[in-house]
Symmetry: D2
Subunit: 250 residues, 4 copies
Amino acid sequence: MASKLSSKLFAVVAGAGPGTGRACAIRFSKAYPVVLLTRTAESYKDTVAEINNAGGKAIGISADTSDVKSLDSAFETIAKELPGLKLAAAIYNVGAGFQRKPFLELSVEDFDVAVGGNARGLFNFAQKTLPLLLEAVPESEHPPSLIITGATASIRGSYLFSTMAASMFARRALGQSLAREFGPKGVHVAHAIVDGVIDIPRTSHYNVNNGAEDGKIRADAIAESYWNLHTQHRSAFTQEIDIRPYVEKF
Amino acid sequence: MASKLSSKLFAVVAGAGPGTGRACAIRFSKAYPVVLLTRTAESYKDTVAEINNAGGKAIGISADTSDVKSLDSAFETIAKELPGLKLAAAIYNVGAGFQRKPFLELSVEDFDVAVGGNARGLFNFAQKTLPLLLEAVPESEHPPSLIITGATASIRGSYLFSTMAASMFARRALGQSLAREFGPKGVHVAHAIVDGVIDIPRTSHYNVNNGAEDGKIRADAIAESYWNLHTQHRSAFTQEIDIRPYVEKF
Amino acid sequence: MASKLSSKLFAVVAGAGPGTGRACAIRFSKAYPVVLLTRTAESYKDTVAEINNAGGKAIGISADTSDVKSLDSAFETIAKELPGLKLAAAIYNVGAGFQRKPFLELSVEDFDVAVGGNARGLFNFAQKTLPLLLEAVPESEHPPSLIITGATASIRGSYLFSTMAASMFARRALGQSLAREFGPKGVHVAHAIVDGVIDIPRTSHYNVNNGAEDGKIRADAIAESYWNLHTQHRSAFTQEIDIRPYVEKF
Amino acid sequence: MASKLSSKLFAVVAGAGPGTGRACAIRFSKAYPVVLLTRTAESYKDTVAEINNAGGKAIGISADTSDVKSLDSAFETIAKELPGLKLAAAIYNVGAGFQRKPFLELSVEDFDVAVGGNARGLFNFAQKTLPLLLEAVPESEHPPSLIITGATASIRGSYLFSTMAASMFARRALGQSLAREFGPKGVHVAHAIVDGVIDIPRTSHYNVNNGAEDGKIRADAIAESYWNLHTQHRSAFTQEIDIRPYVEKF
């Protein structure tokens, strides 16, 4: 497989724990060396090993996207580890912890935590990756892409989800703003509203959609849609898609 | 190529003139025999020949989707020409003529023409194709799909576009309703908001987006996105995408 | 009360049966003579009597807004009955009958009936009233207004509501288009998404929102919001509002 | 005028500088004693004097809504100054400063400032006011209301407005979440998308909408719409309105 890998381009996935992030790392590793950023090494190490064992190339770096210095340091490491490579794709998939609580039981710290990972982290990640994506425009076969994972709460504020919605609406707003600013420069910024439960070990006991077969979203199916976004021709960019199981109520 | 063609499944494209319809017919012909429905034979004959010459299989039928009888007759022809084949994909790409006029210069006939082709035609087409798509659920590798072409006017009513918007909003509403009704039965109903000028002979002299390279949408890029919708896993259906050139203001 | 009535202006309410239409007629009759248009005299006669008995002025006319000739005739009658009066407010509240059925049990006639009353009727009504509203711009204290009643189905397509949604999306599209075209000419076009069950005799036995007090929408409260739209200053027009009971899930 | 003032209820306006905040304070002072919260006394003092001179009752308090302690202190002062009064209406109109800059010229501090005032400030303000609004439910003639000022950037992310949009999307999300949580408890939470330039001294030299008369939004017209939201019957709450000049492109 290694021989098919681009020798000039790479991809980076922030929030590469089990589920979408891991699946994106694996999918994009078929074409590019991949960097996985997660808060702890624990979250990336199995996926990094799996990709490297399969003949791809993966690097894991611990970083907190909500912290500028931590992210600066991560990108310094990337520059050293992958010298001269340009950035073809950046995926922001970080999920901030959030408190699922009635509004009056929340504290402003809960608000800060949600906004920190879900929106401020994307702000920081975009600040680091967009200059690199712009540099890759002339060389990348596919338009360099910043792909952002959203959720139901990105378009709907609701009971128990006030801080989640605030931070995910903000995330979507950043994506939209960046699409309008960087699209004309050749960078594809896309946002995916993932509306449903993802099928990962942690959700294996969840009973969703009455236990229907394929009632939870397969992470590799999300990753395939992200790859399809990345490979769109620049005359036909998609800014936003929704993704949900066939049986999901919406 | 013929050997790769499904021998059990076919696709149908309504509104298969130059642009999106033609490109979809060609793209889907790589996997399925394809039926092209257009109002006049003039509109389909070159594409049909091109596909057949390339080793695919294509059939053209003249039909007016806004007219139930015309469509009934077309599907009787299909049943004869492709006996026993199940329907894997149906694409509705019909563009009704519409009057680009100030509201008070329009007549109710203008309203009827726009609604006829843009919404009533989809109603009829969905009535004919959904039973066939449902039948194909157990056999189709990819979830049988009804894919609907929309436009900017599908989500925005504006000056000079009142009848266009009325009919395209209606079309989108049908798509959404059908997605919620038929998704749980395994049929993928998706709607694409095509926001920009498509690069076809008729628009070759249009100066859009300041004449930027790739400032018009390549029809084959739309078709590729439709194919990607068709091949999504049922745990991860997209109901709506937007498609526009990287330089388009939106 | 008659003395407070405008002697130069009038209002017209299409779809003035029990509920929103009746309540609007009563509310606007406090300021203007009011014309009630309904398909049958049965639907307007009580409200007309009530307004006239209360010292207001009301006229009832039988008309089918989906039929151009019927509407032409109605406006000829209006011109005779209210000579020289200008139109300050036009309210479109017609509810087409629609079949609440699975999609494959519908016929294209069901589609036509829904579109006829819900969208084509507004097209016709707007064609008749906009010229009159434009004429009133210099004389009306409040910006002449075309106010359109929408519903949940105006923004959401769903199972059993495919034709309802198609026609109500179309209605909303017309409203938006007309707002953008006629707003700059001084006519206020507004659309109200009424999301809930209205409290009328026909719905008295409905158990909605767990039977909560005020769990159904009071028609006079809708009418008050329409009046507030009508009296907005032209520097601060609202194009769309939603209206729902405090206990409604949305 | 004082005699008409409620002796049991009061209103609070956060962000009561010139424009919408000032106009709301004046409008609501016709019915309630009003508290004006602004970052500096300079911003509230003229309006407070104007209301008191006109026979109303107004109190100004300096507070920074993005700072929990500052807001705690302000509400302690309110409890002392207006002992026993319940809160009928709370208006959040704070406008955070924001940097109108290309994305790559922004720093994360710019993000924090925008989110601080536009979203975190509302979070804090809602935490303080919702318990008071809930207490007033049984006594207030009109449903106690939390009304939030939004902007074009609340629903559209764009070039130069990335941090503004992120923070205003977040604000809207909070409003939606709170409406769904507190509506059923009798508190009316509404959000207004103010889409245009407000006519205040600072904008007097702006040439908007080609200098059309009434091409800027009159602040008192916004305040009137807020009052109309506040006085809606609980069976007919509006969650969101847009407000723009008749000549505004949208």
